[in-house]
Symmetry: C2
Subunit: 344 residues, 2 copies
């Protein structure tokens, strides 16, 4: 990996627009924005329902859930995690996978909502959060994701699988019991197509992988044997973090179980640093991987990573109108802060 | 405008993916999602600070604001609206408008944060909301937007101007006094480039404008002499609405003051219907227009519109990862509901 950096170690104080070769998305960095006042009352803190008797994701409540796909360990009433169908799926596994219906005259494109929408219950215990689990246990959650992706790959019509996690109500979670979700889609979604296109363009111009190149000293947070955590050069959100495998690898589901434990350790560290530094914020994490049809040798420019985003600001009219984001924290500053957080 | 429709009048009940030729963005329509429960406490309602003595946007507090650009009526202490500089601007008008600095080796693209960020105070009175104003007064707010855009056009380095409004804390507003914002950007932002590209493609294929074509009976809400309000075919958000000028016109700032009053009336109707039907939700509105350098004859495929989005759902991991949205309400259903709201 390269370690060159085009920016000074101390971040500039005037606003700056940046675009990196991974996301191809303009971001406005604007430190002045951080100081603006608000006359609205501050947000309610995370307020999960701790009454486990009402929670279908708790151990002993399996009958209140949609059907199970698998559990770990298998056939064990004393399970550690379960992958189940989502009871309110955004896509349906029970309808035909139809071709695109393109009414080119009216400009209206319609596709049957075929797909899969699953939930991963990450722990049997209601009060346990992902960052409370051991590196090995977090590794098992990640392996459950990869195992489910490998099952979903058998469907030709599935083009992309999105793994994500919502933690806390203002990060969108409707259930407080620790869980993540897996959605298998009949189309390659726009942000993925844009990311892949941008990485390909950079590769064609330089012969290098833009994710490998995003490793630079001023943006680094932590390292382990096979992974690094960084703040991306054009972070869309304040304190956004990426965990990147050092080996150039296009697909998340190629992760083996040994490296999954190591990744679990680095993810735990990132989540604990974020929690300590930012006062246990709501957050999302997203696996950024490659479309399923493409194999590794076809994708020399593509490199998967985990994206972790604390929910600190609201996406509003400017972002909705332009697709351009305003980030009050320069990535170099966020990386420095996160590097220095002491985790006991 | 065409009135053909490729969909039945009653919306389907299985999930569906849609993409329209304006936004070129996939949206998953999934009625089942509307029924899912939440074990988080419900959101706090809009809670504006009504203490006008602390609000810099109130009449008599002009000295607490950043410099004024103009007011209506001019030179009148008893003003109806003011356009002022944003005290915490995302972009700076005081730095040179530099060229793109493209470090092609590292893949890092940087542009100086030159630009303008203004606030439009829509009323002198703290407790008055935009929808409380008369059609003529709303028209004056819209004319203030167009007038400021015409001033900003004199800067060669300004490529696009985004006009938007945030209403309510969960729609991102930090100030409760009714206002909108104007941001002048040194780049054409990604969502605008995508929208223009998609409209151009449709025009090249069919010879028609995709916004003109989005007028169909099943999606129509209301009409006035020169404008219509609709729910777009692939609405990104539940109850998203567009107000479209019937005359094919590429730039919002071409709006004349007579039509602005008519548009003010239709906007008022849309906001009141939204408020009655959805219990006074937080909302954003965005002007979707064309880049400044391009003139009307160069843009036969481009057509401006107003986008109004009530904040009813949270953008979470799936949307952040994929750029694809999940909308639990079919546009035909939303349009029917909004058509039938009785406004006294
Ligand atoms: N008994 C049961 N058995 C099986 N599954 C059950 C269940 N009870 C509930 N579920 C499912 O569990 C999931 C919990 O998911 P999250 O809390 O992460 O957010 P949710 O998907 O509701 O919406 C958030 O994430 C989506 C996707 O990013 C956004 O569209 C949305 O606005 C945001 O609130 C829900 O999808 C729900 O359907
Ligand atoms: N005395 C004064 N004089 C002049 N201007 C003053 C002022 N006091 C405050 N301001 C400005 O007034 C504006 C009020 O704007 P809004 O309430 O619409 O949302 P804001 O821009 O804060 O952020 C929302 O919108 C932006 C853009 O969409 C998102 O990035 C963000 O997350 C979201 O909360 C602020 O931009 C503030 O800087």
């Amino acid at each position: 990996m390269a370690s060159s950096s085009s920016s000074d170690s101390s971040a500039p104080q005037t606003p700056q627009l940046r675009k990196d070769s991974v996301t191809n998305r303009w971001v406005i960095f604007s430190p002045a924005r951080a100081k603006r006042p608000s006359d609205f009352k501050s947000k309610t803190p995370i307020n999960p329902n701790q009454q486990q008797q009402q929670c279908p994701f708790c151990i002993g409540h399996e009958h209140e859930c949609a059907p199970e796909i698998f559990r770990v360990p298998p056939d064990n009433p004393d399970w550690k995690l379960r992958v189940i169908q989502n009871l309110y799926p955004a896509l349906s596994r029970d309808i035909p996978a139809a071709e695109e219906e393109n009414n080119s005259d009216s400009g209206r494109v319609v596709v049957n909502g075929f797909g899969f929408h699953d939930v991963v219950i990450e722990t049997p215990v209601h009060s346990v959060q992902l960052s409370d689990l051991s590196p090995r246990e977090i590794g098992e959650v990640l392996v459950a994701h990869t195992r489910r992706i490998k099952q979903l790959m058998s469907y030709d019509s599935i083009k992309y699988v999105q793994v994500f996690k919502n933690h806390g109500a203002s990060a969108g979670a409707s259930m407080s019991h620790s869980h993540s979700q897996i959605m298998a889609l009949p189309v390659v979604p726009p942000a993925v197509a844009t990311r892949l296109g941008s990485m390909k363009e950079y590769f064609d111009q330089t012969g290098k992988c833009s994710v490998c190149e995003s490793n630079s000293k001023d943006l680094l947070i932590d390292v382990s044997a096979h992974f690094i955590s960084i703040v991306p050069f054009a972070a869309t959100f304040p304190f956004e973090m990426w965990i990147i495998p050092l080996d150039h690898s296009s697909h998340f589901h190629e992760l083996d179980s040994e490296k999954a434990v190591e990744l679990g350790g680095l993810l735990k560290l990132v989540l604990r640093k974020m929690s300590l530094q930012l006062n246990n914020p709501p957050f999302n994490f997203m696996v950024q991987t490659s479309p399923l049809g493409d194999n590794a040798s076809q994708l020399p420019y593509s490199h998967w990573f985990l994206q972790i985003v604390p929910q600190l600001s609201v996406v509003a009219g400017f972002e909705m109108g332009t697709g351009c984001y305003i980030n009050p924290v320069f990535p170099e500053d966020a990386a420095k802060v996160l590097r220095e957080v002491k985790v006991s």
